[in-house]
């Protein structure tokens, strides 16, 4: 039921997009033909059904077994191809107008994911981690971040981005943030402590720290690199925008907590959907990242007492996969296959990531519990090519929504292609 109601809202974005197409034209203009609208509606409906079906556990496991791919980001590659096909002028389902009109859906989806990641920020679980874990994970993440970022910045300059324009730095940070996160081993998220029983699993908590660090990076990005294509009446420094992000997230988190208290069933579902829509809408309104604002709201929700956590978690999980697949479809629609710069960036991304993890491994060695665990499962070489997290694609989407950057298609190529390459290289490393 949660998936259904959530899908209704996800479909809303599609309806809005189609409705924009069908909006009455000013007098004197030719009426839009019916067939393209029909085609777009049916095409988007098929995409939604496929995303829904692919997220079904049985179908997902069958797909991953058949493709020999173990991670969600690689099993979502089919949707990238679907998006590419849907964008083709001959098909015409995801043209520029429709993509723009899907923006509310993207806002909502980013907010939903932010809430999920926020639910990982359970202070009680994090408190039980061994001392220094956060520092270790931070260092482990920072090294590939810096290497990927530096490589990305250098290549952006080579591609002709002006060196005195901070946007190439911003794009490099987006690429670095996307590359610095590694996916969890099995793709399963850490449920809130209350749902894990008496002994919460610290493994899951450590593996989620990457994403939390990435969200922090995204918050800084959204605060200090404001979009250049809009003007604000109030010229506020970056720190103020950062505090605003925190403040909005905090207020919304408390509001949602008050709204959800004592609710059940369809009311709970409706309120959760409305809350995420409101939060992502306010964030989008202010050109803040919906992912960051909803992360803070999610962190508030998971740390406050109440019976809401179990229901929240169940509903949130039901929509996670379809959202990722829809992101892949949109990423595919944004992808410029013929743009050589993305293909140049791809191997640089993979290699710089490997170098970053190699340095981290050498520096931290067996102090890093996570690296050690990964090595014990798949061999030390596989630690050079950890799988890329699905949150990475969400970060790319977030950047697209905020900045509408020409570099995004290159980053899409690098991240998607890098995910496939990382998995293939990782498997080869573990089998030798």
């Amino acid at each position: 039921m949660g998936r259904l109601a959530a899908l209704i809202w996800v479909s809303f974005g599609a309806i809005t997009a189609m409705a924009q197409e069908a909006a009455p034209l000013p007098t004197g203009t030719e009426p839009r033909p019916t067939w393209p609208l029909v085609k777009s509606v049916i095409g988007l409906s098929i995409l939604l059904v496929l995303a829904w079906l692919a997220s079904h556990p049985k179908i997902r496991h069958r797909l991953e077994d058949a493709l020999g791919l173990g991670h969600a980001i690689t099993s979502g590659v089919a949707f990238v191809l679907l998006g590419l096909v849907a964008r083709h002028p001959a098909v015409g389902i995801l043209d520029d107008e429709v993509l723009y009109d899907l923006t509310p859906l993207v806002h909502f989806a980013l907010g939903w994911l932010g809430l999920i990641i926020g639910f990982q920020f359970d202070v009680r679980v994090l408190d039980r981690l061994p001392r220094g874990t956060a520092t270790l994970v931070g260092l482990e993440t920072l090294t590939p971040f810096l290497i990927v970022g530096a490589t990305g910045a250098a290549l952006m300059l080579l591609f002709g981005r002006p060196w005195n324009d901070a946007t190439f730095v911003r794009d490099a940070i987006v690429l670095a943030t996307a590359g610095a996160i590694a996916a969890t081993g099995t793709g399963e998220r850490a449920a809130p402590q209350d749902l894990q029983g008496e002994e919460p699993d610290p493994v899951r908590a450590i593996e989620s720290l990457d994403e939390i660090i990435a969200v922090a990076g995204l918050a800084a990005l959204g605060a200090f690199f404001r979009p250049l294509w809009v003007q604000f009446e109030w010229e506020l420094p970056g720190t103020v925008w950062l505090i605003l992000s925190l403040g909005v997230g905090l207020c919304l988190g408390l509001l949602v907590y008050a709204l959800l208290a004592g609710r059940r069933g369809s009311e709970f579902l409706a309120l959760l959907l409305g809350s995420v829509a409101l939060a992502s809408g306010i964030a989008g309104y202010l050109f803040l990242s919906p992912l960051v604002v909803c992360f803070i709201a999610g962190a508030i929700l998971v740390n406050l007492p109440g019976q809401h956590k179990q229901l929240c978690w169940t509903i949130l999980m039901q929509l996670e996969r379809p959202i990722y697949y829809l992101f892949f479809a949109i990423a595919g629609a944004l992808w410029r296959v013929a743009d050589w710069r993305g293909w140049v960036l791809l191997p640089a991304f993979v290699l710089s990531r490997a170098v970053g993890y190699a340095i981290a491994r050498r520096t931290l060695g067996r102090q890093s519990w996570r690296l050690t665990r990964r090595a014990s499962v798949s061999g030390w070489r596989s630690t050079l090519f950890p799988p890329i997290s699905m949150v990475s694609i969400a970060i790319v989407m977030s950047a697209q929504v905020l900045y509408r950057d020409p570099a995004i298609p290159w980053i899409v190529t690098a991240v998607i292609g890098g995910a496939i390459a990382s998995e293939v290289l990782s498997r080869r490393s573990s089998s030798t």
Partner: protein, 448 residues
Amino acid sequence: MKNLIILLALGSLVHTAQILLPIGGDVHGAAGTALAFGLLLLVAFVSGDMLARLRLPKLVGYILAGIAIGPHALGLVSENMIVQLDLIEGVAICLIALTAGGELDLKLMRPLLPTIMALTFWGVIGTGLLLGLGLFLASPRLGFLQSLEGPTLFAFCGMLGVVLSAQSPAVVMALLSETRAEGPVSRTILGTVVIADLVVIVLFSGASAVVRSMMTGEGDPAGTALTIAWELFGSMGSGVAIGILLAYYLRKIRQDASLFVVLLCIIVAEITTRVQLDPLIVMLSAGLVIANFGEPDSSTVVHDLQVASLPLYLVFFAVAGTTLHLDLLFEFGAVAAMLVVLRAFGFRVGGAIATRQARSPIEVRRWAWTGLLPQAGLALALALVVQRSFGDAGRGASALLLGVIALNELIMPVVLRNALVKSGEAMTRSSVVPVSRLPAPRHSGEQP
């Protein structure tokens, strides 16, 4: 108290966001859509909750929420946002119509059919004529009618009478669901508003064609008849086809049936209007097929949709509230109030005649007519058609119609709810959907 604080907090947050907006406002509008959806949903929910504590229909709370935060009051939701959200109406109407059709079990309705037909004739058609006559007699006081005279004026007033006699299956369904009412009164009300809606659509199409022809001197009776026939029978035929498809799916596949239904509603909502079909009639017919020719438990799927559709319904009625022009009540207050009373009187008298003629049970005689009182979507849509199609007279008439509809939309759900309670049918239907149908969360490490 908690609800009030939540409302204040929501309003303050959005107001603050508006102050910090970029120059030019939400220049591209994309984020505003999500914000408006979320804000309307939450404010409507909380308002409905507050009114429920006062034993008033939640529906009125949803509408009041829309009025309060809409562009005519606090302005937290702009007209642009409403235009985009207005389109959710299509899907909501399809779901409502499907659910309404799914409730119409012909075996149970058969004994009530004479009452339903009589109510439609005496109550709806009779009241429409009465209202038309009332407007004709009041025309010297209505400035927008001064340009019309004689037969044209009479026909125009008759057309407005048809619009004013329209009811609202959406409001009736919402109230029947909220009060969990079941019984002969509820079934009679639902059957009557569904059939009356069809009758009003046909009558309005014919009346507006006649008026247009009299005002412009041009007319195409054959074309008009064909258009009406296509809209009516084409919609019914399409609905039957969709109903058969749906029934087949429910019998053979069953899995994720709700998903299939929702996608169907999306496609129907977007495509039917482009081919001059009525989505309400299409999905009503589909629901009828499912209820009467589908598997016995197919209707459960349709009932379940009501649960998942709560967000849509909340926003649907809140958006209806944002489009209410309460300012027009000041302009036409006295005449609008007179028409509201006249309409209620017409339904009361027409209902009495109809139920006496049909020899209906006593409870049906006393309360069934109240189901005809609420007005919403259909009447609004017809009022907008009048506004667009008949020049200055149409614009003036539309303002009056909107004022009457606003009053009926706010006051009449309360009357209907009271009637359902006093008839003894409220809270008689068992809760058809469990408290939560969500699966239990899986602990990490468990197999899916």
